[in-house]
Amino acid sequence: MNFILNLTAREIRSSWRRLVFFFLCIALGVGSVVALRSLIQNLTAAVGTDARALLTADLEIGSNSDFSPTDLQKIQAAVDASGIADGRNEAITTSSMARPTDPANERVRLVELKGVEPPFPLVGEFILDDGKPFDHRLLENNGALVARILLEELGVKVGDKLKIAEGEFEIRGSFDNEPGGSSGFRLGARVFVQKSAFDDAGITRNSSRVRRRILYRTTDNPTELVRRLREELRGSTITVQSYRETQERLGEQFTRTENYLALAGLLILVLGGVGVWNVSRAFVEQKRKTVAVLKCLGASGGRILSVYVLQILTLGLIGSLFGILLAQLGMFGVRSGFSEQLPENMSYAVTLSTGFQGAVLGVLVSLLFSGLPLMQIRNIKPRLLLRDENNVSIRRLDLKKWLIGALILASLLGLAVWQAGSLLVGAFFLGGLAVTSLVLYLAAVVLTKLVRALRPSRSFSLRQAINSLHRPGNQTRIILLAVGLGAFVVFTVQSLQSNLIREFDFSRNQRLPTLFFIDVQKSQIDGLVDTIKARTGEEPETTPTVRARIAYVNGKPIDYSQTETRQMQGQIGREFAVTYRPGLDINEKVVAGEWWRPEAADVPEVSIQDRMANTLKVVPGDSMTFDISGRLVTVRVANIRQIDLRNTRTAFVFVFKPGVLEDAPQSYAATILSRIGATDRQRLQSDVVTAYPNVQVFDVADIVATVTELVENFVLAITFVGGFVILSGILILIGSVALTKSHRIYENAVLKTLGAERHSLGAILMLEYGLLGLLAGVIGSVFAVALSFAVSYFLLDIEWEFDAVRTLAGIGITTLIVMLVGTAASFDVIFKKPLSILRSQ
């Protein structure tokens, strides 16, 4: 044992410089996995998967319309029968416009209003900015509690008054975190008022987006009660959910996100493994004589193998620990760069479990990827010391090697499944990686063969550079695969990014409104149009809207007790804003059926957007029945429409033929296209909301800015991870350069002896790496273009454009990076004196 330990220590002592890239590759991969997992775990802890606190109850019953007396009776009966409810309250949420009562302050903001009643919250706590807990008395007599950010947005403070709809509310306090957290995307800051104030202030009177909730705290598992309630309320659009389902769903979502991100880290680690394999291969080659001497001195093959396996394990562990350190530094970087976008109470420490996991991963990957190269030690015979056999060996079936190879592959699959948390995903990941690597490798083989065609060039340096790509023991394919894979990932992400950004570049949509007004009553529409004309000079487009729900499809009600249908309840069970008009909008086209002719048909008709038609599985000729303010209206599906959302003012899922809805209760939506400045938009909104408090105004520029920022942050994160992939590729490049250095030194010595000057040798070097970079860049770009097209067209269903400038720039940058790094790493060989080198051969 002494021999193994002593020799391992001595070997590490002498070889660590050559193997530094080994543990850098591992460190980078481990760091990525640990950082990504820790980030998600810490985010999860900060956001909380305590579903009871998120729901602020054990059980929630929700509806987008008033609860009917019958529904309330059914609910109460079921709850009473269960005997487990020990707390109840109701809440109501909607959006509305808020503005300061101070006439000098013209700011207006859309807010997400929540009306609550005691006891609130049923579960969890609500601490205000002054450190005191929520007290319902703060909301009495038209009090309001506002999100801290709203104070800034409106330029108000605690004690000031706000006008919301027709009511005036005094700001009695502010908060940063509300019960239930700020889950989901919100258009406006949260404001709490008393539930009874909603009706007094006329907030819900003409509002279209109201959600009502009945919340219960229970003393026991509410699962059975949920089941009973769903049965009782079947056929209605009332939703019932318990904290347990929410808990499971949230837990699954966070775990899935963590696992998918960990796969990105695993990709970097696997690339690191390729670097490890490469270094191990060359290392074993360099150690052939040492191994032969050790065998000559009496060491068995097994003991020698133990020495090098122990060396790999030690370096793998050191690399992993360094990787954990890098991960922690990365977390500090995230804190300094993104802390504003992340929860205030979030920790930025690497978690113990992920650190341990990272260390295990790093050591396992080191072992797995060095396994096959180390197996070569068995084949090194001591007779090598008597006659140099180079790499000539009898090709025979090495069963052990195949078994070890199969074991390594199975272990890699195990790693992928472990990280992905799913056999299917893990298998897809590994399979996808293998296929991608194989395809890139084949492309590298083909391209290097094609490059040979350039050999008859007049330039000596170019001819030599091309020869160098094919010299025995060359690392060409490995470098092309590693750098090409890195370039492929980054270019794909960049290409997708530009297509996604363009998709969300609303400035290209000339018909996208600047301001959107909804809930405008019939009696208000003329006045609103005049106000807008006076401010902007533009006559706004007005569209009548009627609230309708789907009651029946082809005479049958929608059965929400079915899981699949219940999952779509949000899409199909909601209240729709529908309209009526004689013709198609310019951004629409009929894809099935026919548009109606001006003369009346026997049966009222409706046009459906294609996606909804797919969801409902309806075709032209089918019938649908809508509930419009309690009245059932049956219509024939006349056609199915496709809407170009990139070029639209409004997009209605259902458009009725004129002659059906004119007498139905309706409001209007108005839009203006004029691109007016922020101050003028504020003034216009203030004028409108002052005159018509029930009208809601959506400032589209604000929404677009928020969405664009979200997309850009998302893409930045992916590009950042992609950058690590490229870095792995660069490390492999540097490692490969180091491995072939001795060949290069010898070649240069011979060339110098034959009369080659330093500038020629320098040119050969730069051309060789330039060619490698160019080939890697081309390979990466071609496949990136293909993949980004496939993802855009088949998966994301967005428009795809080939960006030639970006592609060429990518190839150019890859060429430059590889050329600079390769040349810098090899430049010193040009200055070595030839004699001592030739004599040492």
Partner: protein, 224 residues
């Protein structure tokens, strides 16, 4: 006692079979100093390698102290070399990542010797390199490297010392020193010494000279 019986070694060279040794039979008693000589390609180094179990013959057998080594496994041969055989190469073949001291230590660590450190110091002292033990092979001259190799070869107190052109890469002065060192150690430890050499002057100093030509023994002045 080393017994070689009908030993033949054939290797594949390109598309042809090349016979390096052809039906060689010899016996070498314990403690004898034997010189193996012959032109380049006569099979001397190959014979030496086979004696050390570094290679396996195409046919025939080699027995050392009654054990037939030609049927031993690789690990068995390694154990044999560790306990009974010391080998010195023309190109020294020191492990470049270890110091001189560590190179001498290695065979004893492989064998699990308890007095490894003391003995390594002793051996380096015997070969005159007591104050160079911490240097790496690249920091030593050719003669110094070969002295380290000799110290290493004697580390486990072998019964048999095989030396393949030990002075081949050295100048004449160093070469003489090395030869004297080897022979002194051979006599002092009663070790069987088989020396492959081109140098007739060195060969003449051996008790017995075996001449090989084209893989066959053409002369053996042992009287056998």
């Amino acid at each position: 006692m080393i017994s070689i019986s009908n030993l033949t070694k054939t290797v594949r060279s390109g598309t042809e079979d090349l016979t390096i040794l052809s039906d060689v039979s010899l016996e070498i008693p314990d403690g004898q100093f034997v010189a193996l000589t012959g032109a380049s390609g006569s099979g001397k180094s190959t014979l030496l390698g086979l004696l050390a179990g570094l290679d396996s013959p195409s046919s025939g057998s080699i027995t050392i102290d009654g054990d037939e080594i030609t049927t031993m496994s690789e690990d068995g041969l390694a154990t044999l070399r560790s306990s009974k055989i010391g080998f010195i190469f023309q190109s020294f073949h020191l492990i470049p990542s270890l110091t001189a001291y560590e190179n001498v230590l290695i065979p004893m660590e492989i064998a699990g010797a308890r007095d490894a450190h003391e003995r390594a110091k002793e051996l380096l002292d015997e070969v005159g390199l007591a104050n160079r033990g911490h240097h790496y092979p690249t920091e030593l001259s050719g003669g110094e490297q070969q002295r380290v190799a000799i110290a290493r070869a004697f580390a486990n107190r072998p019964k048999i010392l095989l030396a393949d052109e030990p002075t081949g890469n050295l100048d004449s002065k160093n070469g003489r020193h090395i030869f004297e060192l080897m022979t002194a150690l051979h006599q002092g430890n009663n070790v069987t010494l088989v020396l492959v050499t081109h140098d007739q002057e060195l060969a003449a100093k051996a008790e017995r000279q075996i001449i090989l030509k084209d893989g066959k023994v053409i002369a053996d002045n042992s009287g056998q």
